[in-house]
Assembly symmetry: C2
């Protein structure tokens, strides 16, 4: 099945927003085995949308249009498609009800033009909008399916996944449903993961296994097709088992959960409080940890001990350690974590010291990092890293490693309990 | 002049990367008065690129193609365009030299396929690449100009701005050159800024004045057309004067400089050291300040005094202040800043305390923020904010306000010196 995307919106042609919808849809379709050969963007202009539609209809089995379904005069996707396939617009009761309750919930009066959003193309398959007002539609024209989805990503994405994908499975001639499970890995590169799983990835057809790398993390998406949900789960579990037997030590979570969120959730679940002592990370670790609401239950506080004398005089790292080993050392990392734990009275503490770059420090190369952890084991731990990349890359990766090490140790801790 | 964009790259069709080039180019072209009517994305496929090119050539005066100029077999933009306009590829000495020195600088051997990058279409206007290897090109075909730019944004953007825009001015039949100056504002909304400047914006044609809002900041882009650089500068200065007479108190910088970067630059210029005491911002302020290389010259260190007893026992806010006024108070903000300045031995210090949300704290609504500043004035200062939005929005905006207040006070400080 060959697909193409048409994005409608003058704000895209003016460059006021970046077209993330096209990337999302392309990625999802690729994983479902649908080839996307063209992405086109046109403004809120009936003539040019019709031209794009004619061309797309002539060469693709599936045309997905996003945007232009709203209540204003600019929005004319529905009208343009209706006229292209020579059909009328008719009221859709369920969508009107949805729109009315949307306004009721927000205690706002509904203006008349919002009724327009409940109009759908006659004979179309309506995709209900559970995250906004405008319904989506699937229209069949000759051998081509034309799909209309709303433009706002927070409406488009759930409609695509929950309402359209089941229909797509049917179109693809399968009396089955498609589900996927995303496994998240850290500390292993995409190519290594692929090498370790190559025979599985190649042999496996249901579920399929698709790796994807993004900002130092790798995900594996397992996609299963089966009519029976119990059987879907069994197949996914079985494949996950095969995967974790080989690379389980790098698995840290599922779905959209970031390393930091996973750490936050683990700390909260264990009622474990944490303190921080950050040098080159400058407070970024604690800044990310406190981005989750409810973080005050687990985060006590910390130090940004940037200057060497602040490490000594404020945080309390001993002068001897600094003189003898320097601040870029395992000893300093360990002392930083111990002092943060003591001063902030927490269960555990993590510290970061190292060279973010671009210059050397204490004769050490940029990317030389020490992470200290106090309170998780009888004796404090440290980890040494040598990371490549610029200042930002080094800092961001060090923070991820910090989360990963804590999660790994807490898992071990767990098993002992 | 009507333009359209063609983005080439299978990674775009697979959704592995988001097409930020299209947004950048559309925005820049709009500001230069060029209408973009279509954006098309095709894979690394000669046949489909030719189809897109034919269509674009038939309907647009200007076709800008990005991507597919690299050294690998996949890259075939140049070859496809050459064949479309029936011309040969020829070696471009200056580009070959550029590529060779690229490898020399990095001390890496140059593989043979990199030579291919020095091939250009015969008779084309070559755009030199100062940030990578592949040169860009402008080819005239009938009445249409076909422009090829490299795909990586860090190469494409400077080539577009510095090499292509001057050529575009010529194409637009103007014996002039186009330059713009971006003024950055904070603390004023886009609509207020527009209202305050409406008569100027409407009356002004050279330079033009275009406002744009982004993440709580507003920019004004002044775009001037004139053959003489001295006259360009005079016109820009004149318009900037008119603008700052009305809204100068909100102007904080120029070009791409963020509020935090401007603060960093100001502190460095004044040899002024800073310490931090952060509560709900959790270390995000210091994390951002230390993201600039060279920050160790101005940043001493700080506290993330998240829990109330950490504010008291570690940072040293007096128990009396906390008991009497609570931690969400001007008094606490001031004490936090004073203690951070003392403990970290800095010239100035800034503190953040408040309610990030979603829950109330000490009976105060989410968005209630106090920022304390010590060391800039004989007596410490505080600022009170009541911000709308979710946890992230409140935190991010509070940090921007912190930068803005410091910059404003430093300006005043400046004038006194």
């Amino acid at each position: 099945m060959n697909a193409e995307l048409i994005s409608v919106g003058s704000e895209l042609l003016l460059g006021q927003i970046v077209n993330t919808n096209a990337a999302f849809l392309s990625q999802e379709l690729a994983l479902l085995g649908v080839n996307v050969f063209y992405q086109t963007t046109v403004g809120d202009n009936g003539k040019r949308l019709t031209a794009a539609l004619e061309l797309a209809n002539s060469r693709s089995d599936l045309v997905i249009i996003t945007g232009g379904l709203g209540p204003t005069k600019d929005d004319l996707t529905k009208e343009t498609v209706a006229s292209f396939v020579s059909r009328k617009l008719v009221h859709h009761e369920e969508s009107l009800h949805n729109i009315e309750s949307y306004f009721l919930k927000r205690n706002r009066p509904m203006s008349e033009n919002n009724r327009k959003q409940a109009l759908v193309i006659e004979g179309s398959h309506v995709l209900l909008n559970y995250h906004g007002m405008a319904p989506g539609m699937i229209v069949t024209n000759n051998d081509t399916k034309i799909v209309m989805l709303p433009g706002p990503p927070q409406e488009m994405k759930p409609m695509f996944t929950n309402e359209f994908v089941p229909q797509l499975a049917k179109m693809m001639g399968e009396q089955t449903s498609i589900t996927s499970r995303v496994l998240r890995f850290f500390g292993i590169g995409e190519s290594q993961l692929e090498t370790d799983l190559l025979d599985l990835i190649e042999a496996q057809t249901n579920p399929t296994i698709a790796p994807l790398a993004n900002e130092g993390e790798v995900t594996l998406r397992l996609t299963v097709k089966h009519a029976d949900p119990t059987e879907q789960k069994r197949l996914l579990d079985e494949t996950e088992d095969q995967v974790t037997k080989r690379v389980g030590q790098y698995l840290y979570g599922y779905g959209d959960t970031s390393l930091m969120e996973q750490l936050f959730l683990q700390l909260r679940e264990k009622h474990c409080t944490i303190a921080t002592a950050e040098s080159f990370t400058g407070g970024k670790f604690s800044g990310m940890l406190t981005s989750f609401s409810g973080s005050s239950a687990i985060y006590r506080g910390g130090f940004v001990s940037y200057a060497t004398d602040v490490k000594e005089k404020v945080l309390g790292v001993s002068n001897e350690v600094i003189r003898k080993y320097g601040v870029i050392s395992p000893q300093c990392a360990i002392e930083m974590a111990k002092r943060a734990k003591e001063q902030c009275v927490s269960d555990i503490a993590i510290s970061f010291t190292g060279v973010a770059g671009p210059s050397k420090q204490e004769g050490k190369e940029p990317g030389t990092i020490f992470i200290g952890v106090a309170g998780l084991t009888p004796e404090p731990l440290y980890y040494e890293l040598n990371l490549a990349g610029n200042r930002k890359a080094v800092t961001d990766r060090a923070i991820k490693y910090g989360c990963f090490y804590l999660l790994k140790e807490m898992k071990r801790w767990n098993m002992k309990e």
